[in-house]
Structure formats: C-alpha cells, structure tokens
Symmetry: C2
Subunit: 148 residues, 2 copies
DNA sequence: TATTGTTATACTCTATAACTATA
DNA sequence: TATAGTTATAGAGTATAACAATA
C-alpha cells in the first residue's frame, strides 16, 4: 500500500522520521531506566557524554551543536549540572563573552559508574542484529545527517 | 578514539541514540517549516498521518502505540484536533470504554494539502543518497526497532 | 479485578524574542 | 554591528499517579 488514503502521501510506515523515531525509542527504552537510576535525563546524559568525550573545554555554542540542544535549554541545564558539581563553567580566556565548559571529576565518576551497564545493554542490542549491521547503519545514518 | 576519556564508555559519535537523533534532526529540519506553515506540530502530524493511513477507525491505545505518544499526551491532543474539526471521536460500539478515532474530510484535506510539498522534500533527500540507501536504511531501522 | 481513557500534577524541553556584555 | 550567552515567556510533550466508567 503505497498511497493508502489516496492523499498523495507515502505510507506512515514508510515515513523516514517515524522509522528513525521507532528505532530510537526501541534503543532508549533500554537505556532510560539506567539513566533514571542515576538521576540524569536523556538530555543531561548527552551533555555529560559530549563533555567526557574529550579533555578540551567546549563553549556552549559548540556543545549545543554537538548535543542538538538549543542555547536556552543548555543554559539552564548547565546551571543545574554546575550546582550538582558535575560540570564547571569558566569564562574563556581571551574572549569574555564565551563560557568554557569542562566535566568535573565528580561528573567523570558518574559517567564511569553508568558506563559498564550502558555498554552491556549496547552489546545486547548489537548481538540481536546481523553481524556488521550496526556499522552499515552508522554509515547510512551519517549520510542522512549530512544532507543539509 | 574508542574510549576517549578512559571512562569505559564508547565515543559519543558512536552512540546509536545520537546517530539516530542526528539523522532525524537533519530530516525534520526540512519538514518542520512546512508543518508550521499549516499550523500542525510534529506530533499532531504523526497522529493525522496514522489516521489518514487507513480507513478503519483506531482506538486511542492503538494510536498511542503507532505514533509513539503517551496516553495523556494523545488525550489532550485529540481534544484539540477534535475542536479544530480534524478528527472525530466516537464511542466504540460494543465497548463503551473505548473511543474510536477517525480523520474527518477536513483532516484529509489538510493532509492532502501538505502531501505534495512533503513528497517533494522527501525525494530531495532520497536524491542525495546512494541508490538503494533508503531501502537498506529502512530494513536496518526495522531490525533495530524489533529488538524488544 | 482488569482495562480504557481522562484528569491532575510536576517537570523538562522547545522555540522565539529580548536583553546584557563583550568583541 | 555582530557575537555569545542569559533571561523571559509561552507552549507542548513526558511521565506517573489517581480516578471514573466499563468490562
């Protein structure tokens, strides 16, 4: 059924946003309980992961691009994470408009505490797919992400 | 860089939820302006598409599964769509607990009005990918969605 | 008792605009 | 004037629990 209602629109099952969302939901259903146990939201986890990823401090703008969060959302979230001692906000040397963000030792410990269970769940997903499926999936997703 | 911070967690770029989100964002960036022009949110569009897809009425529960929305969110949203004359809520014959939902003629006209532009944008995405990439992507996404 | 849906509540995120400080 | 970030505000969605009606 390629045009079920005769409305000139593709089948709902053939909607790329829906297919991406469904896959993401299936994955996140396995990770959300873990994040909840440690008191972090999905978006906060994105921020902590992005900061833990490298040792170089990041500006808020760079972090917003990387985590797909908007400036105002990030701004408030970072204040919360700062209060919890998970991140550090310092004025950028050389440009006082910028804020540099680094993850604290406490923040790193939180990431490290979640990591083993996270990797275990990740592998259980990988094990249910054909060999090489994830590599191919990443490749295609990167292509789609690069369209604009 | 497979374990950049030495925290036992995979690189942020190798996070499946992030890769799925990035791809979805790239796609949605092209569709959101169109939906906004017609005064529907992303989630409302999901509901209208799901209802337009078949002629058989759907219960709220079935619709929630299909659109990946929660009951309470759907409940309020359907009240709004009903007020706008886009959907119809009727008690299910035989089981008064259930509500059956159908898209109205007005709703179908809205879907049909958005469809051509939507399909055009969809094809422009398809054109930027390798031939067959979308078919393969759907196949892999379906596998991931089926893990639970 | 279990199921279907609604209402209540609190929280978070999205989105845009206005504003401050700095460049 | 442009840029980086914050604050303000409105709106929408997420998530859980409590509730009513029906099965």
């Amino acid at each position: 059924m390629s045009d079920p209602g005769g409305l000139g629109i593709r089948d709902f099952e053939r909607s790329l946003p829906m297919a991406l969302l469904r896959a993401r939901e299936a994955v996140m259903r396995r990770f959300r309980p873990l994040l909840a146990e440690h008191g972090v939201t999905e978006q906060q986890w994105r921020v902590l992961r992005a900061l833990a990823d490298s040792d170089s401090p990041k500006t808020i703008g760079a972090l917003a691009d990387r985590t797909l969060l908007l400036g105002p959302s990030l701004s408030r979230m970072l204040a919360t994470l700062d209060e919890r001692g998970l991140v550090l906000r310092t004025p950028a040397p050389g440009d006082a408009r910028r804020t540099e963000l680094t993850i604290t030792a406490h923040g790193r410990r939180l990431v490290a505490a979640i990591a083993p269970d996270s990797e275990r769940r990740y592998r259980s997903i990988e094990d249910r797919l054909e060999p090489g499926a994830l590599d191919e999936l990443y490749r295609l997703l990167d292509h789609v992400a690069a369209i604009d």
